[in-house]
Amino acid sequence: MNTFLLQLRRHPLAILGLAILFFWILAAFLGPSVVPFSYTEMDMGYQMTAPGEGGHLLGTDDLGRDVFSRIIYGSRSILTVALMTSLFSSIAGILIGFTAGYFGGVVDTVFLRIMDILMAIPPLVLAMVVLGILGNSTILSLTIIVSIAYTPPTARVARGALLTCKNMEYVDAARIRGESHLYIMFVEILPNTIGPVIVEVTARFAYSIVMIASLGFLGVGLQPPTPDWGMMVIENKSIIRAAPWTVLYPSLAIASLVIAISLFSDFVGKVLIHEQ
């Protein structure tokens, strides 16, 4: 942990990324109680107000809803879903990838075949089709579908990481000691492969944000009136000439969050891969 902090000091961009990420986490927790307007409140007489007027920091949309408040509210759903999906797909990926890599043989062959097939559909297309047909996405259905779409690539990384350690002497030692397969996989091997796995989880976090924002943008994400960044962009796209702020600021919110996580995950990758 100490070396981690020391490394962090040498990467100002990673610090910047962390700072932005903390800002959004804070916004998600405290934001809704401090924003000036509720996300559904329509301020009549202030439709499509430019930023700064009538107490609307970032202006209002065509219904008179405060863009700033909606962005702050919107940080909740996207962070929640992204965090859960990167967690779930990582856990599922590790379980599946480890099982396949550890037992090898037929199990592994079948696993690789299935993963090949699943990975042939771009995750966004898969999620979009399923959510689109199911309709009325909720936080739960969004989490489940995106997690499933992201499990195959994570499983592949986990399998690859396990294979590098599988034939190490400490694994043999554990086997000779008579430890169970589960013990060997998760107590002996997992801690030694944690580097690539953590890199994968942080990268997956950034991808999840992109995916959720894109799904919202395509209209198959969370349903109105829940404020969703991606949805705000497509909802207001038709008034971009008259009120560019309604589209630009949600876009910038997505951009800042995604870039922040990428900067951090890039740093994590550099540190953890170099250590090995």
Binding site: I133, V247, V258
Partner: protein
């Protein structure tokens, strides 16, 4: 590859078919009588077992018959599908023309100047643009070029009666949005392979012989450093087609992506199946071709560059 494709087609078919919602009911509307729905189900062959329907669909697909659209009754999917695919292909290649030279050039620059200020700036820009969803970079581009400067159209619509060829300016912003995303991937790959090659013995030998630096970089080093880049460009071709959905939706570009989107919105099952299978097909085939190309190019690398 063929196995993957067939398995894929079954998966897609299965996925779309098990979804809730009665197709016949959707076609006839909520007011339809039960008898009418049952009759239509029968006429459409929806009462047959899943496997029978799958083989009928897949058989048609292999023969090039994509079936009939549900939403636009009586319209053969073939008549609209390929024109849209053509538009998407033009868009994809326009994007390719933008981002390939650009990312290779900057990737080489970053690789040669590794660790210097130029490298940090290029790498940061690459990391940032790569991370952004396509529609976010698209919105930023629209705000600059359409709203502020007003030199390019916001929506990529082709007026009725005209072709894409008469409206080439609508390609620019969608292609640039794709360039944003791809630039990061390709320039990163180019950078790291360039660093590897620049540290190799034969490049050092060429430099020590007193050859001009630019000559060494472009004639000796780049030749070998291009291989991983070509691979990543090829691998991303399939991904690009998936990414087109977002870009095309943002700009209203009349291609495969917006067709897929509208098919999903209207629950047009045969059209969804056709679109998704085609996107997957491009994805699988481009991965396959990339593998072949890699094998094809590899002996030359061994020949020219020594052991890698």
């Amino acid at each position: 590859m063929v196995v993957t494709l067939v398995a894929m087609s079954f998966l897609i078919f299965f996925l779309v078919e098990i979804m809730p919602g009665d197709v016949a009911q959707t076609v006839l509307g909520q007011a339809a009588t039960e008898e009418a729905v049952a009759a239509l189900r029968d006429a459409m062959g929806l009462n047959d077992p899943l496997l029978v329907r799958y083989f009928r669909w897949f058989g048609g697909f292999v023969r090039g018959d994509l079936g009939e659209s549900l939403y636009m009754r009586g319209v053969q999917i073939n008549t609209i599908f390929w024109r849209k695919v053509g538009h998407s292909v033009v868009l994809a290649f326009t994007a390719l023309l933008f981002y390939v030279p650009l990312s290779i050039l900057f990737g080489v620059l970053a690789g040669v100047k590794a660790g210097k200020a130029a490298d940090s700036i290029i790498s940061f820009i690459g990391l940032a643009t790569m991370a952004l969803p396509e529609f976010v970079s698209g919105i930023i581009l629209i705000t600059i070029f359409s709203v502020s400067l007003d030199i390019l159209p916001i929506a990529s619509l082709i007026p009725i009666g005209q072709t894409l060829g008469q409206n080439l300016n609508i390609l620019v912003l969608p292609a640039l949005s794709i360039t944003f995303v791809m630039f990061g991937y390709v320039s990163r790959m180019q950078r790291s392979s360039m660093i590897g090659v620049m540290n190799s013995d034969y490049v050092r030998a060429a430099t020590l012989k007193g050859m001009p630096r630019l000559y060494v970089i472009f004639r000796h080093a780049l030749k070998n450093a291009l291989l991983p880049t070509i691979t990543i460009i090829g691998m991303n071709m399939g991904w690009l087609f998936g990414g087109l959905i977002v870009v095309e939706t943002l700009f209203g570009f009349p291609g495969l992506g917006s067709l897929t989107m509208s098919a999903i919105k209207t629950r047009d099952v045969p059209l969804i199946e056709a679109c998704v299978l085609f996107i997957t097909f491009v994805f699988v085939v481009s991965t396959f071709i990339t593998d072949l190309m890699y094998a094809f190019l590899n002996p030359r690398i061994r020949f020219a560059g020594g052991d890698q």
